[in-house]
């Protein structure tokens, strides 16, 4: 690992802790996560709503809304730059250029009073020494690249469909060929048929621009299609991470297994879906032990008491679960291999 050095890593997060200090209490949104991403790789960040995925992504841009958000501790290195220790000017240069983000809701993420072309061109003009005309010309080309006719650059967001808006947002995010692209549930708000098209566009451009990517989603199907690496998040912590193969074929964490059990299976439609019982714990009041313990079917006494840490299964695969202290522990995969 070390022999490769820092240079091959686009992203390195160490012990990131983010709280939202609200009037109703302190929301412990992200509780000490470590992540690494190598160049040209795609990392899937998976977990239920409220797991802390968006907060993690915003922290990478140092854009956690403050107040109420506070980054309590941690280090985030993007493309060799220490994000949490930059002055605002430097941060503005990094955002959009080294790392950019596509947000969850395309319907509300474009500014309604500027044309789509202007919004793409603005990004280019911020980061490169180009004239307004050049920037606009490139904006038109970018639209073409994401599958929208160039002429529509002069139109306003309200004239675009949902899928087109998301593509326009992809064009904005990719305008300056960022080293790292974060896509926060880019297809959740879209129709199923449009979802596939948008994913296709993203895959194409990622290939062309050699961008590394974090794909945030709760859809394991999308992970299987697009990702090389997977990190499963629960209550602000990473409970399992590894290569796609590690996590899909050699699932270790009971929560990950639970996620697999509650998606329909293509080749066995009659198989019954087993939702994970219970709800995510209240993030203002997390227990000392494993946060998944109250919902876990393998739960032991110590799970409630002793904090869990990530343990290595192999070179790439890690899991945070006390059960693996026991020799020969295996989780029971319910129906045959997917």
């Amino acid at each position: 690992m070390n022999s490769k050095g820092m240079t091959d890593l686009v992203l390195k997060i160490e012990n990131l802790v983010v709280h939202y200090e609200t009037e109703d209490g302190i929301v412990e949104a992200v509780n000490g996560i470590d992540l690494q991403l190598e160049r040209k790789r795609v990392l899937g960040l998976v977990g239920e709503t409220g797991a802390g995925k968006t907060t993690t992504a915003l922290a990478i841009l140092n854009l956690v809304p403050d107040p109420p958000g506070v980054i309590k501790s941690g280090r985030i290195i993007v493309n060799g730059k220490d994000i949490l220790n930059q002055d605002i000017k430097e941060l503005e240069r990094i955002r959009g250029k080294d790392v950019s983000m596509i947000f969850q809701d395309p319907m509300t993420s474009l500014n309604p009073v500027f044309t789509v072309g202007e919004q793409i061109a603005e990004s280019i003009m911020l980061h490169e020494e180009v004239s307004k005309r050049e920037a606009y010309e490139r904006a038109r080309e970018l639209l073409e690249l994401v599958g929208i006719p160039q002429d529509r650059a002069d139109e306003y967001p309200h004239q675009f469909s949902g899928g087109m808006k998301q593509r326009a947002l992809i064009a904005i995010a990719l305008a300056c060929r960022p080293k790292l692209l974060i896509a926060d549930e880019p297809t959740t708000a879209l129709d199923v048929t449009i979802q596939a098209q948008v994913l296709e566009v993203m895959a194409e451009i990622k290939e062309k621009y050699e961008t590394s990517m974090i794909m945030i989603t709760h859809d394991l199907g999308i992970v299987a299609e697009t990702c090389d690496m997977v990190a499963v998040m629960y209550a602000g912590k990473i409970v399992e991470q590894g290569t796609l193969k590690d996590v899909f074929n050699n699932t270790k964490h009971p929560y990950t297994e639970g996620l697999f059990n509650c998606i329909p299976k293509i080749n066995d439609r009659k198989a019954e879906l087993i939702p994970i019982p219970g709800l995510m714990p209240d993030p203002t009041n997390l227990s000392r032990g494993c946060a998944f313990a109250p919902r876990c079917s393998y739960v032991m006494k110590e799970c409630h008491e002793r904090p869990v840490e990530l343990k290595r299964i192999n070179d790439t695969h890690m899991v945070a679960c006390h059960a693996y202290d026991i020799q020969d522990f295996h989780i029971r995969r319910r129906v045959g291999k997917r």
Partner: protein
């Protein structure tokens, strides 16, 4: 857009007719008439009656109004009962003063209020917000004439910086403009603040920040542009009100504007003068509102799309 404008202008015609009827009727309803004002003190009741007969004041309301409308249709607003001067001319001799004061007041309002409202919204709950809100409350609740008197006492009597009355030279407009502008500023500030508070939560501002747009640009370009509709509406309405003249301010500063012209005309029951002035004011204010509505289309493309449909 052009068709929309024409339609709006045509709609103005019935409005003006209604205004003329209502104003004419109400002033006529008031006790006493112009003869009591213009007749010499020693005039006998018979002399006055004769004067009324000569001026046609004894004709029934319908006849008099019809006569007035006849002139109006030819674009003639009639002559003052009091001094026989042409209403149109008198109005336009006063209008520049009123416009000047209205625009200067609006200028003061915009210069202070919009930045103040933005800062207030961006630092919601802080001491900056508190100070702005206190200003907003004071500005709205302080009577104009009182503020005007305070300004005169302090800036002209004590410090001798600006003249306390009249309309000569640029310096004489400073105090009246501040007086008119303060109340407007307070309203515009509060509108800016609440409108910005709506907008700052919007997702597209996050998109802008994520692509590296500097915070100032995020606020003054991306957010303010979206918050502008209510602000422009309030400013347009305020300006429309100022076109009718600022009676108290004009009185305190002896500023020869439209407001006092109308009040004086009402006091002397000068029906053609009152009606004519209000018709012209209504027209100007309607143009202004039309301008505001057209401005909407330039601010927000979604509204433009609706107009052209």
């Amino acid at each position: 857009m052009i068709r929309y404008t024409i339609r709006r202008l045509l709609m103005l015609i019935p409005i003006l007719i209604a205004v003329s009827l209502v104003v004419y009727f109400i002033v006529d309803l008031a006790p006493g008439d112009v003869v009591d004002v213009i007749a010499p003190d020693d005039a006998s009741p018979e002399d006055k009656e004769l004067l009324r007969e000569m001026m046609g004041l004894n004709d029934p309301f319908i006849i008099r109004y019809a006569r007035y409308m006849q002139g109006l249709m030819r674009g003639d607003l009639g002559k003052s009962y009091v001094n026989n001067r042409d209403v149109f001319e008198v109005y336009f001799s006063r209008l520049p003063n009123t416009l000047l004061l209205a625009l200067a007041g609006a200028f003061v309002a915009v210069l202070i209020a919009v930045p103040l409202g933005v800062v207030s919204a961006m630092h919601r709950g802080s001491w900056k917000d508190a100070i702005s809100m206190i200003f907003g409350l004071l500005g709205l609740s302080m009577p104009n004439f009182w503020l005007g008197l305070l300004l005169i006492i302090f800036f002209s009597l004590k410090l001798g910086l600006f003249p306390s009355y009249g309309s000569e030279g640029w310096s004489s407009i400073v105090l009246p403009a501040i007086t008119v502008g303060t109340a407007q500023a307070a309203l515009v500030m509060r509108t800016t603040r609440s409108s910005m508070l709506e907008v700052v939560r919007q997702d597209y501002l996050r998109t802008a920040r994520a692509k590296g747009v500097p915070e100032r640009t995020v606020i003054y370009k991306h957010a303010l542009r979206n918050a502008l509709i209510p602000i422009v509406t309030v400013m347009g309405t305020q300006l429309g009100v100022s076109l009718g003249g600022a009676v108290f301010t004009e009185t305190v500063f002896a500023w020869p504007g439209v407001g006092r012209l109308v009040v004086d005309a009402i006091n002397s029951r000068d029906i053609p003068m009152v009606t004519g002035c209000l018709i012209l004011t209504t027209m100007l204010a309607s143009f202004l509102i039309l301008l505001v509505d057209i401005a909407y289309a330039f601010i927000d493309p979604r509204i433009k799309a609706r107009y052209t449909k």
